[in-house]
């Protein structure tokens, strides 16, 4: 079971925050009642389907939809001609930026098909079977072009060019010729050359990672209803319905106020549902057909046309003195963006060496387009890739220096006051605490069996805040309805209700949290960047404080005493001070039932741009066993240690740690996009793109470290993303420990491991 290095809840007087009640949406989810994206239906609804290009790179000469339109039951067909073109403009989406010129081309191909699976037309019909038949009647004339799938191939001067106008940004002098490199970024501190000159040991190594998909079990789905007066309703599975509204309004040329988006329950996202794919198409089909349109992707479409994250080529060089002090660190990162610019190479660069207190750092990154689906954010976008390379080299360096890998990290660990290479000075952070906890854990002391190895890796993620609204309605019976705008993807309604109950001083069961639609709250940025519990939590506490202020005003009115003579304690208004008088305390319910007579409804409404999101550091410890005959790597034991700031609902914090670790295990051992020479994806299904199943993994132990975030009322840090950063390096380090062979390519799947073992044995003969 899990352990915790916790703040003492009782000492802080916390009654609800830090407890583990059943989540408010729980019963709906165990009974099948919860409505996810594809579970929503409206009367008269049509079925929409997308025709996708089989060509990784081709000019689209013409599209003839006449036969499809003539098929009985077909109500609308749309192509590039129905989607308005847009100028280049960057807007934030999660931790990444999107560009509208690219976005319109990604939702529906214009001049070219840029990847296998690229949408070229869409149909709305009276049934799925009619829509399917109609797709086959659409004639698209393609002119295939040479394609490029690999990132290094795409950077070669003679590579097929995806975008004729792509001139690399961030180069001096600016290139004059188009290439597939959209930009070069650089971050640094000090002088790496002099740093390496001081080093007594230097390790450098290149790594390759494959694109991996977020792998949410729920495919993208939506229902759009566009009415004759130019207004629209949209129900969809998304991490950010306000962001969906913005994008759809822009693409359809509508006022934002005329689109109302309701977020369904969301069946996983991990960053992959921060962008739009079907939504603008469904709206355009609904507009053209005059009827509501439902669209649901197949799993094949999810793999071929959404997500994944970048595959990459990563080079890392680190130098240290013999006593284990790092003198310089350098990395070069080449990330695939997919068909359009915008890989997470920038956050990848910023994260790369963030766990370390360094004087001399240089990180250079390249964003490279290839004929693959445009990447989307995936849990700590960019971080896992660069930190995988760095944490492997750190481990190799520790071994070479004959230092314990935890001690080596402790010697160089970032702490409060460390100037991170990407800019800021860290406030209170918990990396050292996670490393200490690993050293103290019995897992670190157990003896390994034959063919087993142990690995350690640390990880860092920024976490974000941002625009957030929350409404807290105090009901006439003393219960409270809490409305947040961040879709609840993993239990955040429970943590928001806990913080509301704690602040108001009422029972958790008295707070009913819901996710409001886009017309019910002010603009609220999406659930991403590990911001939901942090930002909506901060807004919830402020809304509760506002409600408390009003409750005190009402009590003062009832008691006929000055407002400043009322204090709020344990869910009650109490008279306090010399001018207060002697009155029995009034509960929230007592005051609420008289609200109509004392001034009307009592509501707390908060609109903030949440600041002060603090990074979360984690360290993972893993034991593996390698089957030398089959090449299979089995995870024998796994422990996640991470700083949560404050775990509001510890079960769901543990769940984030465990889920992130297992996604990382998949990334490390099995998952990859496989392409044929024809540029088509060969494993677009869960049978061949194999995510971990229950029998692949052991229990995942967790240790919650709590170094409170001083900028949050309950000390919360985002926790969702950091857990996917350390697993790949931790497992690679464990495999190296078991075999004495260091892998520099993911995934470490059985054929590759077997090949490496055979090569090593051959070399030894």
């Amino acid at each position: 079971m899990s352990q915790a290095l916790k703040m003492d809840d009782k000492a802080q007087g916390l009654k609800w925050v830090g407890t583990r009640p059943v989540r408010p949406d729980g019963v709906d989810k165990v009974t099948g009642r919860a409505k996810f994206g594809a579970d929503f239906n409206v009367p008269g609804m049509l079925t929409g389907k997308v025709l996708r290009s089989p060509h990784p790179h081709a000019l689209i000469r013409s599209i003839d939809t006449s036969k499809a339109e003539a098929l009985p039951g077909v109500k609308a067909v749309i192509t590039r001609d129905d989607i308005q073109d847009m100028a280049s403009e960057f807007v934030p989406a999660g931790e990444m930026l999107v560009n509208y010129r690219d976005m319109v081309r990604n939702v529906m191909a214009r001049e070219k098909s840029l990847y296998d699976g690229h949408a070229v037309a869409a149909v709305a019909a009276t049934s799925a079977s009619v829509a399917q038949k109609a797709l086959k009647l659409i004639k698209v004339e393609y002119e295939p072009l040479p394609h490029v799938i690999d990132v290094l191939e795409a950077m070669k001067p003679d590579a097929p060019i995806l975008h004729e106008d792509m001139i690399t940004e961030g180069m001096d002098p600016k290139p004059t010729k188009a290439s597939n490199v959209s930009k070069r970024v650089e971050f640094g501190l000090g002088d790496v050359e002099s740093g390496f000159a001081k080093a007594e040991v230097i390790i450098e190594r290149a790594f390759d990672t494959k694109p991996v998909h977020q792998g949410y079990i729920e495919p993208h789905a939506c229902v759009a209803s566009y009415t004759e007066d130019g207004q629209a309703e949209l129900w969809c599975s998304t991490q950010g319905h306000f962001v969906v509204r913005t994008h759809c309004a822009r693409m359809l040329g509508m006022d934002v106020s005329k689109i109302r988006v309701t977020a369904s329950e969301i069946g996983g996202g991990f960053g992959g549902k921060t962008v739009v794919y079907l939504e603008p198409l469904a709206l355009a089909l609904s507009k053209k057909s005059g009827a509501p349109v439902k669209m649901v992707m197949s799993r094949d479409e999810v793999f071929r046309a959404t997500g994944p994250t970048s595959g990459a080529h990563v080079w890392v060089k680190i130098g240290a003195t013999k006593d284990g002090r790092i003198t310089a660190a350098e990395a070069e990162l080449k990330y695939q963006a997919g068909a359009f610019q915008g890989s997470p190479v920038q956050p990848g660069c910023m994260c790369a060496f963030a766990p370390y207190d360094l004087e001399n750092v240089k990180v250079v990154g390249y964003d490279v387009v290839t004929n693959r689906p445009k990447v989307a954010a995936y849990r700590a976008p960019g971080g896992p890739i660069s930190e995988y390379g760095v944490e492997c080299v750190i481990d190799e360096l520790a071994r070479k220096l004959d230092l314990d890998p935890v001690d080596f990290r402790l010697k160089n660990a970032a702490k409060e006051g460390t100037h991170a290479a990407y800019g800021p000075k860290f406030g209170p952070i918990g990396l050292v605490e996670t490393l200490d906890a690993v050293k103290a854990h019995d897992h670190y002391k157990t003896k390994l069996g034959p063919n087993q190895g142990r690995g350690v890796a640390s990880g860092f993620w920024f976490n974000i805040g941002g625009e957030t609204c929350v409404a807290l309605n105090i009901n006439e019976d003393g219960s409270a309805t809490l409305m947040a705008g961040t879709p609840d993807i993993g239990g955040s309604r429970a943590s928001l209700a806990l913080m509301a109950a704690e602040t108001l001083g009422i029972d958790y069961d008295k707070v009913r949290p819901i996710i409001g639609d886009t017309s019910s709250l002010g603009y609220t940025f999406l659930t991403g960047g590990s911001r939901a519990t942090f930002s909506s939590g901060m807004a919830t506490v402020e809304a509760a404080q506002e409600a408390i202020k009003e409750l005190c005003v009402r009590a003062a009115k009832i008691w006929e005493i000055p407002e400043d003579a009322v204090v709020w304690e344990d869910g009650h208004a109490k008279p306090a001070g010399k001018n207060a008088g002697d009155f029995e305390p009034m509960s929230l319910a007592d005051i609420a039932k008289m609200a109509g007579k004392t001034g009307g409804p009592i509501v707390g409404y908060t609109k903030i741009n949440a600041q002060g999101a603090a990074p979360s550091f984690g360290t993972h410890l893993v034991d593996v066993e390698v089957d030398k005959e089959l090449g299979r790597v089995t995870i024998v034991r796994y422990t996640v240690v991470q700083d949560a700031g404050k775990a509001v609902h510890p079960s769901y914090v543990e769940g984030q740690y465990q889920g992130g670790a297992v996604q990382g295990i998949g990334w490390a051992l099995n998952e990859e996009y496989i392409y044929g020479k024809d540029g088509r994806m060969q494993n677009a299904g869960f049978l061949d793109y194999r995510i971990p199943v229950a029998s692949d993994v052991p229990m995942i132990d967790t240790v919650i470290v709590e170094v409170p975030n001083p900028r949050h009322p309950y000390g919360v840090r985002g926790v969702g993303e950091t857990p996917i950063i350390p697993p790949m390096a931790a497992i690679a380090n464990a495999v190296a420990d078991a075999l004495g062979i260091r892998f520099s390519e993911l995934p470490m799947s059985p054929p590759k491991v077997l090949k490496a073992i055979e090569a090593a044995n051959g070399a030894g003969d």
């Binding site: 059943v22 019963v27 099948g32 079977s129 949410y216 079990i217 996983g268 197949s298 199943v693």
Partner: protein, 158 residues
């Protein structure tokens, strides 16, 4: 093509429906009968989100055709709780926080119930292999396995 008329039993109740020959049991449940608790994650029998019991056997409803249902008996997630009483597995999933997004949960519950009916005292390994056909991307399986083992222990005790 004309639709097929099918008479079947779902969660103990007689049900009739019309379906196209290519519609799966999952399509029928979700699109014709509006029983949307069974989910489509893959439509190829790889994710288990559509798990139901067909004549007492655990199946992926995406791999069964609607017209095959004539005269047979289907149990879905919607039939698991009795009145306002959750099944012990449903209760334990809640207590153990064995779900995050919840999309895979109905499939896991149906599959876990089938396991406990067959084997009331499974080992952790047996639970892991039985549930290996159900994909969960959020939890890392830890809390799901604990919830199933805890339910088994409680049901044996009672």
């Amino acid at each position: 093509m004309s639709k097929t008329h099918v008479s079947t039993t779902i969660n103990g109740d007689p049900v009739e429906f019309l379906c196209e020959p290519e519609q799966t049991l999952l399509d029928v449940l979700r699109d014709e009968l509006y029983l949307t608790g069974s989910k489509e994650g893959c439509a190829s029998g790889d994710c288990g989100a559509c798990s139901v019991m067909l004549d007492g056997r655990l199946v992926c409803s995406c791999l069964v055709l609607g017209p095959e249902l004539n005269g047979r008996s289907v149990e879905t997630i919607e039939g698991m709780a009795k009145g306002d009483q959750l099944h012990p597995l449903q209760q334990k999933f809640l207590e153990h926080a064995a779900l995050q997004c919840g999309i895979c949960t109905p499939g896991f519950l149906v599959a876990a119930k089938a396991l406990l009916e067959k084997n009331p005292d499974p080992t952790e390994t047996e639970v892991r292999y039985w549930l290996a056909g159900n994909l969960c991307r959020c939890t890392g399986y830890d809390k799901i396995i604990r919830a199933v083992l805890d339910t088994a222990s409680e049901m044996r005790g009672s």
